[in-house]
């Protein structure tokens, strides 16, 4: 609340905007103290001013009662003090008296205030009630009354910015310019035109809108009125959008270009325009001059190479120009010339005594370009292995090395891969099994291993060999500890990459053997490594994933919290945890995660619109499109939509009584009829690059996987939204004020008015009758399910470390939950229609109930047998066991809710005889219907009891589980050295005996022991993996069973 009042100052840093605020005057919005605006209004007495300040203070401190009182007192003496009236309205609003607030506000609005103080206060009210259009109307009215008021017009302009009404923006800006002919106002209008183009049809944008914007600027240029850098920037933007690169270049090179002072990138701009204009010679020359200044300027290297390659393509005559240029300024037009220049770069670098990556990578880049042209790059450019080795020699010990080289690895033919590894291995210079003596050597060793893994050298190893390699890396890791002297807890350790390598190898083995001990090894390894290197977020991310693979939502959450995911990251990283944590039955954690996430989205959507208006104020025209696009990206975030729906569903499903459920639903805004979703518009904001992984390309996250997993989530989202809408409509049917559909007249689907809203007898309905909504949803559920089943999204991601966990869609479909929903909603419809009608419908109701029960029953039965009992033995399927339990319990919840709803509709008719006050006499239900309902409830109860017993058994079995018996790795016995260490592709692996496997275990044990004492140092962060798992499982089951028990009580209460 405090924030909002402060916005008063933020939103209007300076109403009249003579300059863009970048010229030495600090226009930074400083939301520090909230002071009422200085007295320039009709309140000229200082007493009034003082009391006004007092009210602002109360409001700022959240003391709305005092603010209200104070305002009341002031108004007694000065009943026409409009600003105080508005502040009173604001206090009322914040005290929850919305109606009184509106009334008061409306009264003020009618007087059309024009003083800034009142208008600002009104703006706050309208914002808090989310009526941005009222802000526009208010300033519009004020501007009519006082048409030359610059401040009011500025605010009107900003109000249109908030609504994204570009046409109105343009008109208002031009009005402003007429009142005060200042450049910024004129360019606000120009920018508003550009934004019209952004949303317009491309053809219209090119033919009409953008040329208009260009002419507007041209007019100013002709009149010599251009003043600021921002204006030139906007002009360039307009020209480039139209593909007028030559004109843009003329601007940059001409007198106007001199205005681009803060535009440090002017030379870069020039270079990029040269490229766009295919002016290769100029591009080469300018890139070379940049490189002369900065040998590592990658963009210039790319520009240079691209341009030179194009020049060759054009068959430039080489001999003629050669003599004119010295090497630094020649427009190279042949491979030998390019090579000559790259050599020059290398020599120059050596001369300057500073090694940078650019010139080395330039060779690889050239190789790539030549290769892509289908030429023999080895012949033309040089030996690829030698190019790699050349880079590796200088940067092999940096962690950027494998990242830089990765994109060039596909250039190495399969036959040459061995040579490549051999080549760089020679630089590392370690004998087989020799441990590195310096940190640099160790890091080179790490780079070599990462590259060899990426080349696929670990793929063909047997599981036993992989385990041996793991043991080997463990030795390197332990050996490497000596290179971390006094490590900072905020830095990664230099030997950390070995840990990830080991973890990935162990995951490989688990995938091949399905031996869960290996997953437990991974956990153990990472948990310990984290103690030594507490800031390594790669460990944490992988831990979250592996805990989730094991269905341990609570344990995953403990680690997730240490990642301190917040703000934007809630959207980009939330996917690693949110859905999965709910699928393990950790409802409380899921709820709080959802809440935090939703707060981020709502707060930021409001905030970011303010910054959109700032971009105009500061003339940051280049950013406006970007901001608009970004706001759309956030508001259309798939994660946002998923979280919203799941949060609401959780609330509904967790309500303990029918009355509570109705209350919960009534507080939600479930807009069934307006929900015309375009499912394609959902943005996938997940950052899947967060997981580091050196697996070969075919085991990396790829666009197809990303798309498919998004599609699966969107399908899930669609079904969940329908469920939510269905529940909303069904709950609304319980409203006693609902008139039976027949009395109102049946909504005719052909009777749709021109706004697309359904009508009754020609009259527009504000709300659709809930029964109509419910039937609509029911049929949509059926068709959506059908189309999803037809799509049959299949996704195999288990071998890809960075891939998200399987979508919740799959188990959701597997349990037939959607079919159950269909039957349950149909049942309600049948019931509502038959309530009081003849026996035929009673029969239909009974049959509907039977169908629903049958689906629920068979799903529960088969799941108990095949999943809850059948799959609970192995930890591999633990995730599925929990997800299934959660889905089954949800199905029972849904059935219980529907029982409650039907009961509720039955109830008033049962009581009508006793309650004389009842206005509308509903026809009573037939005894057959009552009987059928009773039968339905008792059958649902029976299933619930069965499920409850099964979950109880599951809990019992899990409580006596002892992971250590499956996990010989952590029992520390004798400790012996691991086998000789050889890197695949370099040396051959020695033969493996059974001892080798157990020696891995013992080496792990050593790891555990050697850092056991650190455990106590680390504020209670436990590495006891097995107890973490047990606690997590127990906790999840506890939550799941509690929900089920609540619903059993709920069911009891729905018995007639």
């Amino acid at each position: 609340m405090v924030e909002v009042l402060r916005e008063r100052h933020r939103s209007v840093p300076s109403a009249s905007c003579g300059q863009y605020g970048n010229c030495g005057i600090n226009m930074a919005p400083k939301p520090k103290v909230s002071k009422p605006p200085s007295s320039k209004t009709h309140v000229d007495n200082s007493v009034g001013e003082r009391r006004l300040r007092q009210i602002y203070d109360w409001l700022d401190n959240g003391n709305n009662k005092n603010a209200l009182q104070e305002a009341g007192k002031v108004l007694k003496k000065q009943p026409d003090f409009l600003c105080v009236k508005v502040l009173k309205a604001l206090a009322l609003l914040r005290l929850g008296k919305e109606d009184e607030c509106h009334e008061l506000l409306e009264a003020v609005r009618k007087e059309v205030p024009i003083d800034d103080q009142t208008l600002q206060a009104m703006q706050i009210c309208y914002r808090e009630t989310q009526q941005p259009n009222k802000i526009c109307e208010m300033y519009d009215a004020a501007a009519k009354k006082d048409p030359t008021n610059e401040e009011i017009l500025t605010n009107l302009f900003m109000a249109h910015v908030r609504l994204g009404d570009y046409k109105q923006q343009q008109q208002t800006a031009l009005r402003l310019y007429k009142v005060k002919p200042k450049n910024p106002y004129y360019f606000w209008a120009v920018m508003s035109v550009v934004m019209q183009a952004y949303h317009a049809d491309e053809k219209i944008a090119r033919m009409v809108t953008l040329p208009l914007a260009e002419r507007m600027v041209q007019k100013f240029i002709d009149e010599g009125k251009i003043e600021a850098e921002q204006e030139v920037q906007l002009y360039l933007l307009i020209l480039e959008k139209q593909g007028k690169f030559q004109e843009a270049l003329d601007v940059v090179e001409g007198p106007m270009g001199e205005r681009l002072i803060s535009y440090v990138t002017v030379p870069q701009k020039k270079a990029s325009l040269y490229v766009k204009l295919n002016r290769w010679r100029d591009s080469i020359v300018i890139s070379k001059s940049h490189l002369r200044e900065n040998l590592d300027h990658w963009l210039s290297i790319k520009n240079y190479l691209t341009s030179a390659m194009n020049l060759i393509e054009e068959g430039e005559d080489l001999s003629s120009s050669d003599a004119e240029y010295v090497l630094w300024s020649r427009a190279d037009a042949s491979i030998p010339q390019i090579k000559e220049f790259l050599k020059l770069l290398m020599n120059e670098m050596k001369r300057r005594g500073k090694n940078v990556r650019g010139p080395y990578l330039a060779w690889l880049e050239l190789y790539k370009m030549v290769h892509e042209k289908g030429q023999d790059a080895d012949q033309v450019v040089g030996d690829i292995v030698e190019l790699f080795v050349q880079y590796f020699r200088c940067f092999g010990d940096r962690s950027c090395c494998p990242l830089d080289l990765k994109q060039y690895l596909p250039l190495v033919s399969v036959q040459c891969r061995g040579d490549l590894i051999k080549g760089i291995w020679q630089i590392v210079g370690l004998e087989d099994g020799e441990l590195p003596d310096t940190v640099y050597r160790m890091q080179q060793h790490i780079s070599t291993i990462l590259l060899s893994r990426h080349l696929g050298y670990h793929e063909n190893l047997t599981s036993a060999e992989k385990l041996q390699l793991t043991t080997c890396f463990l030795r390197y890791f332990q050996h490497g500890m000596r290179f971390n002297i006094d490590p900072l807890p905020t830095d990664f350790l230099s030997n950390d990459p070995y840990v990830l390598l080991m973890a990935h190898l162990l995951l490989d083995v688990w995938m091949e053997t399905q031996d869960t001990s290996r997953l437990l090894d991974v956990l153990l390894l990472l948990e310990h490594a984290l103690l030594m290197s507490p800031s390594n977020f790669h460990f944490k991310l992988l831990l979250v994933k592996v805990y989730h693979l094991l269905g341990a939502g609570l344990a995953a959450h403990d680690v997730y919290e240490t990642l301190d995911v917040k703000h934007m990251q809630l959207d980009s990283l939330g996917y690693v945890h949110c859905g999965a944590v709910q699928a393990t039955g950790q409802y409380a954690i899921a709820s709080s995660l959802y809440d935090v996430t939703l707060r981020f989205f709502t707060v930021n959507y409001k905030d970011s619109v303010d910054y959109l208006s700032f971009t105009y104020k500061f003339g940051s025209f280049m950013k406006i499109e970007e901001f608009v696009e970004f706001r759309e990206r956030l508001s259309n975030s798939m994660h946002y939509a998923l979280v919203t729906v799941e949060r609401m569903l959780l609330d509904i499903l967790q309500s303990t009584t029918h009355t509570q459920m109705l209350k919960v639903v009534s507080q939600m805004e479930i807009q069934s009829e307006k929900d015309k979703m375009d499912w394609r518009r959902f943005n996938d904001n997940r950052d899947m690059s967060a997981f580091v992984c050196w697996d070969p390309p075919e085991r990396q996250v790829n666009p197809e996987l990303t798309k498919k997993s998004r599609d699966a989530d969107v399908s899930f989202l669609r079904l969940r939204m329908l469920l939510l809408r269905g529940l909303g409509a069904a709950a609304e049917l319980c409203n006693p004020d609902i008139t039976p559909l027949s009395e109102e007249g049946i909504v005719n689907s052909s009777e749709i008015n021109n706004t697309g809203e359904p009508t009754v007898n020609g009259k527009s309905l504000q709300h659709q009758h809930p029964l109509v909504s419910l039937e609509k949803v029911t049929s949509e559920i059926e068709s959506t399910l059908k189309s999803i089943q037809e799509d049959g999204i299949k996704l195999e991601t288990s071998k890809i470390i960075g891939a998200p966990l399987p979508s919740r869609l799959f188990d959701y479909l597997e349990t037939n939950s959607v079919q159950l929903q269909f039957e349950l909603f149909s049942l309600i419809s049948t019931f509502v229609k038959s309530n009081g009608d003849d026996k035929v419908d009673a029969k239909a109701f009974e049959e509907g109930g039977k169908r629903a029960v049958k689906i629920l029953q068979s799903s529960v039965h088969s799941s108990i047998k095949s999943v809850l009992e059948g799959k609970c033995v192995s930890l591999n399927t633990r995730r599925i066991v929990f997800e299934r339990a959660v889905n089954l319990v949800e199905m029972v919840c849904l059935a219980a809710l529907v029982c409650g709803i039907i009961n509720n509709i039955l109830e008033p008719s049962k009581q009508t005889s006793s309650k004389k006050t009842k206005k509308k006499q509903k026809p009573g239900a037939s005894p057959e219907v009552v009987e059928a309902h009773k039968l339905f409830v008792s059958e649902v109860q029976a299933i619930a009891t069965e499920l409850h017993t099964a979950l109880g058994n599951l809990r019992l079995r899990m409580s006596v589980e002892a992971f250590h018996s499956q996990m010989p790795l952590i029992t520390a016995n004798s400790i012996k050295d691991g086998p000789a260490c050889r890197v695949p592709a370099v040396g051959t692996l020695p033969t493996i005996g059974p001892d080798d496997i157990s020696s891995l275990s013992t080496a792990m044990a050593q790891l555990v022991l050697s850092y056991e004492n650190r455990k106590s140092k680390d504020k209670g962060y436990s590495v006891d993996v097995s107890s973490k798992l047990s606690v997590s499982y127990e906790d999840s089951l506890q939550e799941i069973i509690t929900i089920l028990q609540q619903k059993m009580t709920y069911l009891d209460s729905t018995k007639l």
């Binding site: 990658w298 962690s399 703000h567 980009s572």
Partner: protein
């Protein structure tokens, strides 16, 4: 590589490999947008040849009269791209941008405990101008060094004469 480009909103969605680092603060969206809206040229990102974010710098220009200066709000380099001089490159961008804006100096705040960073800034020519008491809230609060480097406009290097007494955060403009 030292090619910098303007930071964009979309980078906020994929800067996790930099921002999950414990010393890199992830701010609320509004904070980033304020900088992008007001000082877009002071907010630059260094991108690797393979398109990854190697690091970024976020800064502004503010102050009246001889206090008109460039300020470094955040500077961070991904753990994968350290020991390559990235921080120096990013800093020199902001210094150059501040020169173009005719600033008198560039300043920044750093935790007194962050020895590595302080050392690096010293190497880049920054001096400890003053100590700001309990600038960083936490348990316990931590002091900050206000470090400065003069720009060419400050011919007599007036802006980098260290203060002898520490100041309170509220006294810092």
């Amino acid at each position: 590589m030292t090619t910098l480009r303007p930071f964009t909103c979309m980078d906020l969605l994929k800067f996790n490999n930099v921002n999950l680092d414990p010393l890199t603060e992830t701010f609320g969206l509004a904070f980033y947008m304020q900088y992008l809206a007001h000082w877009p040229e002071h907010f630059q990102v260094a991108e690797s040849p393979s398109g990854e974010i190697m690091g970024y710098i976020m800064g502004k220009a503010e102050g009246l009269g001889e206090n008109w200066h460039g300020h470094v709000t955040a500077l961070t380099v991904s753990p994968d791209y350290r020991r390559l001089g990235m921080a120096a490159t990013l800093m020199s961008w902001l210094e150059e941008a501040s020169e173009k804006k005719q600033a008198y100096f560039v300043d920044l705040f750093v935790r007194v405990s962050n020895k590595v960073a302080i050392q690096m800034y010293k190497q880049l020519g920054y001096i400890i101008y003053r100590t700001v008491l309990e600038y960083y809230s936490g348990d316990p609060d931590e002091d900050a060094y206000d470090m400065r480097k003069a720009c060419s406009r400050d011919v007599n290097k007036q802006s980098v004469i260290p203060l002898t007494h520490p100041v309170r955060p509220e006294d810092v403009d």
